[in-house]
């Protein structure tokens, strides 16, 4: 899988992971403080922000694996930055990335419009929720409360990660720095190099 990858694409993912790693950590702290007052549901509103890197990278690079690899790298960078959530972040990053990857794989990596990106956000939401359900012990909560959490997370994944990710990448495309990546090739309608 990785043989078709150019080094510059991997380094790009890694640098994006650093930029968003800082953003992610900021939100972890915001979420932690909130969670003290309103419980684990505090994370659900902002959960979409943690999926954004996989959607941006897939939208730009458009190769199989871009979502899952970028999200895992972002999680690894978060761990390297030395935060207290620690190594389990790598696993949650991997699972979130797989959620988005599943959606892109279902379209055979051919469609990258807004709906697919939002669905990818939903995919990450569902995957990460199943993982969180197990590890966070959500089984003790009443089903209504769990459904509410899942609903908010799906909404957050679609809006923040899908819509927000697309808006950010389109803004980035307009700066002209993405020449040489799949995203600008498809815009011009050229054959894939």
């Amino acid at each position: 899988m990785l043989n078709s990858w150019k080094l510059k694409e991997i380094v790009l993912m890694s640098l994006f992971a650093v930029v968003f790693g800082i953003v992610y950590l900021l939100f972890v702290h915001v979420g932690n403080i909130w969670a003290g007052f309103i419980g684990p549901i505090a994370y659900e509103w902002i959960f979409g922000i943690w999926f954004i890197v996989s959607i941006i990278c897939m939208y730009i690079i458009r190769k199989p694996g871009a979502a899952v690899v970028s999200e895992t790298i972002a999680a690894a960078i978060e761990v390297l930055l030395g935060n207290a959530v620690g190594p389990r972040l790598i696993l949650s990053g991997l699972i979130q990335g797989l959620g988005a990857e599943a959606v892109f794989a279902a379209t055979r990596y051919k469609r990258f419009d807004l709906w697919v990106l939002m669905l990818a956000g939903v995919g990450s939401s569902v995957f990460s929720f199943v993982y969180g359900y197990f590890l966070g012990g959500f089984a003790v909560y009443s089903p209504g409360y769990v459904a509410l959490m899942l609903g908010i997370r799906i909404l957050s994944g679609a809006m923040i990660a899908g819509l927000g990710g697309k808006a950010l990448s389109d803004g980035l495309l307009a700066t002209g720095s993405l020449r040489g990546y799949a995203i600008s090739r498809s815009k011009k309608g050229e054959v894939r190099a």
Binding site: K8, I10, V11, L15, I73, V79, G137, S177
Partner: protein
């Protein structure tokens, strides 16, 4: 003794912590995560030299989170069987609810101490090198991550410069929290554009110096798995087993 956790192979440590966490996820009584948490703290006390002031500072937000889990579970718990032991206004707290609430809170504390144990005793570079040498992570990704990690201070500076440049041109920060959130786009896009250019330059110079991304047979920094790892693995698993079987030896 005091350096054991620092010298331990990061990949082994990572795998052990993962095993411990997944095992803990199956328990819903308060004692198992509590005993495990204490066990982790003892391990840390015996085998590492960490700054406990720093530890407390990092743990503080998790105490807050644990409290959040505690009261949410009390209010929204599914299983409400057992005798009522507490009543505040209209909320009646049963024994099962209290047990579940305590269990989830201790789980948060146990997981975060476990993570902190890793974070405070592991060198980031060694961790990536070990992932590549022991867990067969692709060198392309391993060195790619290292490049990103090295750029961290540069990107931090750039973040400040962009903010300063925008203020010079008269862009002020909004007071409204929501508008400020939308305003991050103005800083993020120049930062990402800079990141794209840096990535291209870094990748180009790596390739110019002969980096192919293929697996090597020898490394400059060799990371090994040794006796210390076996010993600590046994200790970790012992703590895990002891906390899972607390019913047998803990009598209340």
């Amino acid at each position: 003794m005091k350096h054991a956790l620092h010298k331990m192979n990061p990949s082994v440590k990572f795998l052990l912590i993962t095993i411990c966490m997944f095992t803990m996820a199956f328990f819903f009584d308060p004692w198992t995560p509590f005993v495990f948490w204490i066990g982790i703290l003892v391990l840390q006390l015996l085998f590492s030299r960490i700054d406990w002031k720093k530890w407390l500072l990092f743990m503080l937000p998790f105490f807050v989170t644990a409290f959040g889990y505690f009261w949410t579970t009390l209010v929204f718990a599914e299983d409400q069987s057992g005798p009522v032991i507490w009543s505040i206004w209209n909320v009646h707290v049963t024994e099962t609810q209290l047990n579940h609430a305590l269990s989830l809170s201790f789980r948060v504390l146990a997981f975060s101490s476990l993570s902190l144990l890793f974070a405070l005793t592991t060198n980031p570079t060694t961790f990536i090198m070990s992932l590549m040498q022991q867990l067969k992570l692709s060198p392309k990704i391993a060195y790619g991550v290292m490049v990103g990690y090295q750029f961290l201070p540069v990107l931090k500076d750039e973040f400040m410069h962009i903010g300063q440049a925008q203020r010079l041109r008269g862009i002020t920060q909004e007071k409204n929290a929501f508008q400020r959130l939308l305003g991050t786009r103005r800083v993020l896009i120049p930062m990402l554009a800079g990141a794209v250019r840096k990535a291209e330059r870094a990748a180009f110079s790596m390739e110019a110096r002969g980096f192919t991304g293929e697996r090597r047979s020898s490394y400059f920094q060799v990371i090994k798995v040794g006796k210390i790892d076996t010993a600590l693995a046994v200790v970790f698993l012992l703590v895990l087993v002891l906390s899972c079987t607390n019913r047998l030896w803990l009598d209340f």
